[in-house]
């Protein structure tokens, strides 16, 4: 069973969402609903499931409903219709006290503009979740110090947030979220307000933390590179609808519609695609007419950019192997050029 299941969730903003709901269910789109009723559709029949221990990236432009979606997972926003099941429990049936307990222990959230408490020091900020849980000062500070070390903020624990830079503030936000040791981490455009270098730094830090902690992370972003770097699965939202969900390779190689195509158009494929994604399987490939002197062996999980220079230099053929060294498939120079072309894999393979 999946860790998080979102089933047919609708969210309509306005005065009488219940009256507008049937119209949205019949398939009216966001613009039509806004024009006719003055209500804004936040989410339109979103169904998806997120597995335990994976990083699910939810992507879309501003106004696509991604921030609304993430706030449904801890019910900062209540859906107009639909169910949200976490760990097999329908959180829509929680009463106020259950909801508070659920928020205290099961998940925590990182915010775009950090959401730090300006009147509390760094260590007090990080200990806030524990304070709400009712933990005593000593225990709180002990755990907080561990988190401060984990994100590399030693020496700043008694500073106030406005004395720190943006990147450091978001580290405090991350440490605060991790301090309660939740199973689920919600990150709402957590790195969007940071400059590119620090953002890349923070992404690396998150990847390293995730390798150790194995949390279920729901990450919101409007940046495709970020989502490809962090996500095990990616969901793309447009106008409140989930237009495509899948692995990064699936999104790049077979975009579901024009919206997704426009999104992935400018991505550097060599950086994102792995050898196993573009190879021709060994049993489908005629290996007799290649010269063994021109071949290289490459692990199946290696990104294209790492062996691309070798192919270009010698027009050689790549033999793709798995971790044990068994041949899984082959990549020729021609194959590679098709995979990297911008018009998309499917179309170019049809024409060639």
């Amino acid at each position: 069973m999946s860790k998080i299941e979102i089933k047919n969730v609708y969210k309509i903003f306005g005065n009488t969402p219940d009256k507008v709901l049937p119209m949205v269910k019949e398939g009216a789109n966001k613009e039509e609903v806004l024009e006719e009723t003055g209500h804004t559709v936040g989410l339109d029949n979103v169904t998806l499931s997120i597995e335990e221990g994976e990083t699910f990236v939810c992507m879309g432009l501003s106004g696509s409903g991604k921030s609304t979606l993430i706030r449904h997972l801890n019910r900062l926003i209540d859906p107009t219709d639909g169910d949200i099941i976490i760990d097999g429990k329908n959180i829509m049936e929680f009463d106020e006290q259950q909801l508070i307990d659920f928020r205290k222990h099961e998940l925590s959230m990182v915010f775009q503009r950090f959401g730090l408490f300006p009147h509390k020091t760094v260590i007090e900020n990080i200990g806030y979740g524990l304070e709400i849980q009712g933990k005593l000062m000593e225990e709180r500070n002990e755990i907080s110090m561990m988190q401060i070390e984990a994100v590399g903020l030693q020496g700043f624990e008694n500073q106030y947030p406005n004395q720190l830079s943006g990147g450091m503030q978001q580290r405090v936000g991350l440490a605060r979220a991790l301090a309660t040791n939740p199973e689920i981490l919600l990150m709402d455009e957590a790195f969007s307000a940071l400059d590119p270098l620090i953002r890349s730094d923070m992404q690396q830090q998150l990847i390293e933390l995730q390798a150790k902690l194995k949390k279920t992370i729901v990450f919101i972003t409007h940046d495709l590179d970020e989502s490809l770097r962090l996500g095990d699965h990616i969901g793309i939202l447009n106008g409140g609808r989930l237009v495509q969900a899948g692995t990064p390779e699936q999104i790049i190689m077979s975009p579901a519609d024009d919206y997704v195509k426009a999104f992935v158009k400018d991505v550097n494929r060599a950086k994102v695609l792995k050898a196993k994604t573009v190879m021709v399987r060994a049993n489908e490939f005629d290996s007799n007419n290649i010269k063994l002197s021109d071949t290289y062996k490459v692990n199946e999980n290696v990104y294209i950019e790492e062996f691309l220079p070798k192919v270009l230099a010698n027009n050689s053929t790549i033999i793709v192997v798995d971790n044990k060294g068994n041949t899984k498939g082959y990549i020729t120079a021609k194959q590679l050029s098709i995979s990297l072309s911008k018009t998309g894999y499917n179309e170019s393979s049809k024409t060639s």
Binding site: D101, G115, H119
Partner: protein
Amino acid sequence: MTLGAKRNIPKSVRKSMTDLVNNLIPKKLLSLLSRIFGAVALVTLIIVSYFSSKRKPDNIGELFEKWDSFLGIPLPKFLVDWPKWLDTPFMHWINKGWKSFIADYGLIFDAIGYALLRGYTELKGVIVQTPWPIVIMGVIAITYFTSGKKIGTTVFVGFCTFFIGFLNPRFWDKAIETTTMVVIGIAICIIVGIPIGIAMARSEKVRNAILPILDTMQVIPAFCYLIPGIILFGLGAIPAIISIFIYACPPLIRLTDLGIRLVDEEVIEAARSFGASKKQMLLGVQLPLALPNIMQGINQCTMMALAMVVIASMIGTRGLGDEVLLGLQQLNVGAALEAGLAIVLLAIVLDRMTQAYGDKIQERTQPGKKKN
């Protein structure tokens, strides 16, 4: 039904319940009924006003007696001048209500008045009997700590305090009387105003109900409640304190409400996402972050209270305002100005003491301002 109980009901049941209520009392019928009620009330009011007015037209002919013209069109008299018989007996109702109010509830006001008077005399007595250098030292000490140990402000406030007595020895005790009234008035404003401000920030309905009352309190001329104040509480300090409350409380309530609503939405969301209860949210996040605004409210409250104490001297309240009034009555411009200057000095002292504290908190909670 409380909010908590409402959440316990499964969603489907709750939905069908609201449907049921909506079907039983259709909204259209409800609005129609309220309109009919309004129309009936208006017609009744007109009939009542006609029968209770002293001057009624003798016959129909009188209404058309004097023809006048408006933009060249001839009009009967009753359309040009407001007819005397179209007059609600509002004044009579208030007078009648006021009389029975005093007869029935006068005792309660006596009790409130007595309690306030005791507090006022005790506090005043203590400060008046303290040697003046110690009072000045006390003011300096308080300012030193509230201003975040700024030497300049502290010295300035100390000098101002000294100068109140230095202007005229009589002013010292009078300034203490005035200050005591202001302090008690502000204390009542804080005790009543801040909880109301919090309630307004939490609920749209409460805000809509309270706002017109605040408007009334701020706009109504001071003498409209100063004089009834005398009837309820007698002459002296108590009606002045009540007037301070009416006049100075609205800004505190408004700024508390504003301060809480201005707290960054993301910070509130962060607290909620960690499972903070409403109480934890209010005490741990909202109030501390609204504190600069609330302190600004208390500062405004202080200034308005001081202004009101001076006006209240017209109804026999003693204090520095009394000195101004006395000077003017004797056509002694020098004495009046001297007393006016003392009031300004007192205002500066009270302002610096409350303002400085707000500034100190603000430095930390304003994300834009960086201390380097």
